[in-house]
Symmetry: C2
Subunit: 114 residues, 2 copies
DNA sequence: TTGACATATTCCTATATAGGAATATAATAC
DNA sequence: GTATTATATTCCTATATAGGAATATGTCAA
């Protein structure tokens, strides 16, 4: 079997460093492809291709305006990543008296079989 | 060029759902390979292979005890993921009066070229 | 309708899996 | 030594990129 496709979920989509760059450069703004191209200094097809993957997993939304296509980050799709990684954060960042909470969260996670 | 290797960084390592399961099932405990095998119900080589990738990116540490190998999650290696995804969390989770902070963080991130 | 602009797609290739099956290595006990 | 237990590795294959280069599609303007 091959690797999980990049378009399978947000985890796989943002595993590619360039796609994280795209999201970071977009931030909260709605940008056209060319604006992203300018900010990143990449060639246009490369940007379009990465946007395609991001769009397929819902990480960006597209809106057509004349001959432009405006893209915008759909941050909520990053939530599964945030939710998955947050419990671990306690392990390096907080005092030991919250370890029990960490364990509880792990337990729930285990039940959900994820 | 091919896809970024799974062993390149934590982002790529945990893109594989099975490896997230491994980390979740380990939690805060130090477990032998067989203990992980039992908890997940997978075959042993499969577990070993995934542990290998996780170890190569530092997400787990290994300790040899007799013929066993004890593995433990090294949560800190997940920090880059946490740090990257956290600013976006504000976009869906908090009131709009903190949007300026979000933008600041995005800006810093952009300067670090990540 | 022709040209310019904005963006997407296709074709190509080197590369890297993930999983199954079989086997190798290592440590311990007898 | 030999068997047993614990774990890792090798061999195999189908599959999916990511990037470069070239080209296609779509839209507007004169």
């Amino acid at each position: 079997m091959a690797r999980t496709p990049t378009t399978h979920d947000p985890f796989n989509a943002v595993a590619e460093p360039k796609r994280r760059q795209v999201l970071a450069v977009m931030g909260t703004q709605e940008l056209s492809v060319n604006e992203i191209v300018e900010r990143l200094g990449w060639n246009q097809p490369m940007v379009s291709k990465h946007l395609r993957v991001l769009k397929q997993v819902g990480l960006v939304s597209e809106r057509r305006v004349g001959r432009q296509r405006m893209y915008q980050v759909n941050a909520e799709k990053l939530r599964p990543i945030f939710d998955w990684v947050t419990p671990f954060e306690k392990l390096w960042n907080e005092r030991f008296d919250r370890l029990d909470e960490v364990l509880e969260e792990m337990q729930k996670r285990r039940k959900n079989n994820e």
